[in-house]
Symmetry: C2
Subunit: 91 residues, 2 copies
């Protein structure tokens, strides 16, 4: 009866992500520009984010607040992806 939102479904526009993460649009676009996140786009070329994306932003924000720079965040994510590559799930 409760149909939950798939964690990878891109269904949030940037404004909602701004509110949920307390990041500015500029920050969100910059983090994308730096390769930290890859939102999908709708037909009108507007960014659409998933629950996973939002959680990733929260992690980025937390790391940044701890003094880690973008390169550091990128490195952390990269090393994690290697481990996850071992036991990966397909949708």
């Amino acid at each position: 009866m409760k149909s939950d939102i798939p964690r990878r479904q891109a269904c949030f526009p940037i404004r909602v992500v701004m509110e949920m993460t307390d990041l500015s649009a500029r920050q969100i676009r910059y983090y994308e520009e730096q390769g930290l996140i890859k939102p999908s786009r709708n037909e009108g070329n507007q960014r659409m984010f998933s629950v996973e994306d939002i959680e990733r932003f929260l992690e980025i924000k937390s790391l940044i607040q701890q003094g880690v720079n973008i390169a550091g965040v990128k490195a952390i994510f990269a090393s994690r992806q290697q481990k996850e590559g071992t036991n990966q799930k397909l949708d």
Copy 2:
């Protein structure tokens, strides 16, 4: 680690609801006009829907497809709300 979206949080614009429910914007607004749903509005007066709203739309759609008219859907929802009123949870 997985921060889920509260079912009542209004975070979906109408376009996303259209895609998720396969309803037209006209239908969504009409159902609201008829009192079947009460989306909240953002600062710019645009409708914002919650997961609960989307599930409600799916029920509406299902009932409509079964031949129930708007008044019927309204009655069904009304009678349900009475029962739910007995053991209600507050947020």
